[in-house]
């Protein structure tokens, strides 16, 4: 009787055939059925996935390659020299000086440094940021209640939407003469122009965000005894907040376009002014320095808002 179990199990083994059964508790090295794809596969397969750190490396590689190409474009005589040396091009070819069109990255960095140290560039950046934020905050403070109001009452929406839609389609540069007539060429004119460019866009986006709050959420509020004001505060604002912050982030990006337009037209300060006066004196590296500064500020602001979004709306994940 005691012998029976081992006999049976060995019979099963023989039937299964190939390898001897491992002792219980020993780890067996089986080939993985569906192996983790390599990082390279993750990067190159259709809709593949990669770890975050890999995305970061790839981003750095992209920037470095871009800088190298840029540097080459700024010094085309190097390419010509190389091609001549190989024998593709005949010796003695002249290359026009390209510096007027493409400033070398190192020249731009030097110019940036000079701008900050000798030309109070920080003040220009400060004034541009100030104009943007005053206009943007004014637009947001007005757009949130008006947008929600439009989404809440058909009457308000019916009255405002045609006008808002009309103004929204006006190109901001076309409004510059009007704002100059109204406000002169000081800060007020710039802020007014930025406000015109953002408020009418944002208010419709916010109205849409509020409208997209699921009907169920609002009805939950109604059936636990909340009044309209309480539903607005405790449900609608909370439910729409993540998409609203995303939309405002995009709206802030438009502000940079408009501030440069405003500062190019008539100004004696701001990043747009620096770019425009550099053009007048054909100081190409300075134009690049101005443009890059805007890009970097935009990137940093965007990342900061994204970070805050991830932090405050962590419940979405």
């Amino acid at each position: 009787m005691a012998d029976a179990p081992p006999e049976r199990s060995s019979a099963v083994d023989a039937g299964a055939g190939t390898s001897p059964a491992p002792a219980p508790g020993t780890a067996v090295d089986l080939p993985p059925i569906n192996p983790e794809p390599s990082v390279w596969r993750g990067l190159t397969s259709f809709r593949g996935t990669t770890p975050r750190i890999v995305d970061l490396y790839v981003g750095v590689i992209g920037v470095v390659v871009f800088l190298l190409l840029w540097d080459l474009a700024a010094e085309p005589h190097r390419i010509v020299g190389l091609l001549t040396w190989i024998g593709v091009l005949p010796a003695g070819m002249e290359v026009a000086d390209p510096k007027l069109f493409v400033a070398a990255p190192q020249d731009v960095v030097v110019r940036l440094y000079e701008l900050f140290v000798y030309y109070e560039f920080l003040d220009d950046i400060g004034i541009s940021i100030y104009r943007i934020w005053v206009a943007f905050i004014a637009a947001v403070i007005m757009a949130i209640p008006i947008g929600i109001w439009m989404s809440s009452y058909r009457l308000v929406n019916g009255l405002l939407e045609p006008i808002v839609d009309f103004i929204r389609y006006l190109p901001v540069p076309a409004l510059v003469p009007l704002t100059v007539v109204w406000f002169g060429i000081g800060d007020t004119m710039k802020i007014a122009l930025l406000w015109l460019g953002t408020f009418f866009q944002i208010v419709l986006l916010i109205a849409d965000d509020a409208r997209r709050v699921p009907r169920e959420y609002i009805e939950i509020g109604m059936t636990v005894g909340a009044k309209p004001g309480q539903i607005l505060r405790h449900i609608i604002l909370r439910a729409m907040a993540p998409s609203m912050v995303d939309n405002l982030r995009i709206g802030l990006g438009w502000c940079w376009t408009y501030v440069v337009i405003a500062e190019i037209v008539a100004s004696n300060s701001g990043v747009g002014y620096v770019i425009m006066s550099a053009r007048r004196y054909q100081k190409t590296p300075e134009i690049y320095a101005g443009i890059i500064t805007i890009g970097i500020i935009g990137l940093l602001t965007d990342q900061a808002i994204r970070w805050a979004h991830r932090r405050y709306f962590a419940y979405l994940r």
Partner: protein
């Protein structure tokens, strides 16, 4: 007039929607009267889009009737209120609040109880639906079944007279649905709430209901009423679904709904062939 004594009386309710100005209004509910007793669990059963949900929403005050009237405890329904609690199939709780705060939300706007009592009630219902230990979890981190239990806890915490449930288990997998149906039966027996439960799932209807009201395709009218409580015991459990009576009831109701579906199909075909 039995309707006068009933806890919920739905009295000759009709509803039609005007889609746009050029087409005639679409009739959704056609002259429906139902009397529901206090503590009764009534299931509205019918094909998708038949108007049963609309009827339940009219009871909840979330929609108005074109004709007829609805009274709860002798009071005409004038709009949504804390007396009519709602459990939805999706978006049933708030993702920006954690579990316990979602339950507390049901009590937030009550001024008939003090803060300490609110907290006690919230904890009580959290425990009743078996979510104790998940207080700090956000809604996106718990399962679909737990979300529906959470919605039930929040709705009960608001202290409603009537619980209106709109296919609350429709999006769940079969095992979870089984489990939640059994839990709802337990909750119903401990809380003695009047419940209107909308579903198109015949087995779910038979398992839960004291009484099933079978609706026709749109516009909804009552095809038949089945008093399940005459056949099945008040206390239901998973064995109930194995019993012969359960099968017989299920088959009888399926026969009604199938015949109705067939007829609707035929009507649609005729409408298409005749110019």
């Amino acid at each position: 007039m039995p309707a006068a004594q009933a806890f919920i009386s739905i009295d000759r309710v009709s509803k039609s929607f005007q889609v746009d100005q050029r087409t005639p209004p679409i009739a959704v509910i056609n002259d429906v009267s139902i009397a529901i007793e206090e503590g009764e669990l009534v299931v509205f059963l019918g094909p998708s889009g038949c108007g049963k949900t609309t009827l339940m929403r009219i009871v909840g005050g979330l929609e108005s009737a074109t004709r007829g009237r609805v009274q709860i405890d002798g009071q005409p329904v004038r709009g949504p209120s804390r007396q009519q609690g709602m459990v939805f199939q999706s978006y049933s709780s708030f993702p920006w609040l954690n579990v316990i705060d979602n339950v507390r939300f049901g009590l937030k706007f009550r001024d008939d109880v003090d803060a300490a009592e609110k907290e006690r009630i919230a904890r009580h219902y959290l425990e009743l639906v078996g979510l104790k230990g998940f207080e700090t979890y956000y809604v996106n981190r718990i399962s679909g079944g737990m979300r529906q239990r959470l919605a039930i806890a929040r709705t009960l915490a608001a202290g409603p007279d009537v619980l209106l449930m709109d296919e609350p288990f429709g999006a769940l997998d079969a095992q979870n649905r089984d489990f939640l149906q059994a839990q709802l039966d337990i909750i119903q027996r401990s809380e003695h709430k009047t419940i209107v439960f909308v579903t198109h799932d015949v087995e779910e209807a038979v398992f839960l209901a004291d009484r099933i009201i079978i609706f026709s395709a749109r516009p909804a009218r009552i095809l038949e009423e089945v008093r399940v409580s005459d056949y099945l015991p008040a206390e239901r459990n998973l064995e109930t679904k194995e019993s012969e009576t359960f099968f017989k009831l299920r088959n009888r109701i399926l026969a009604i709904t199938r015949a109705q579906a067939l007829r609707t199909e035929q009507l649609l075909m005729e409408a298409r062939t005749t110019p």
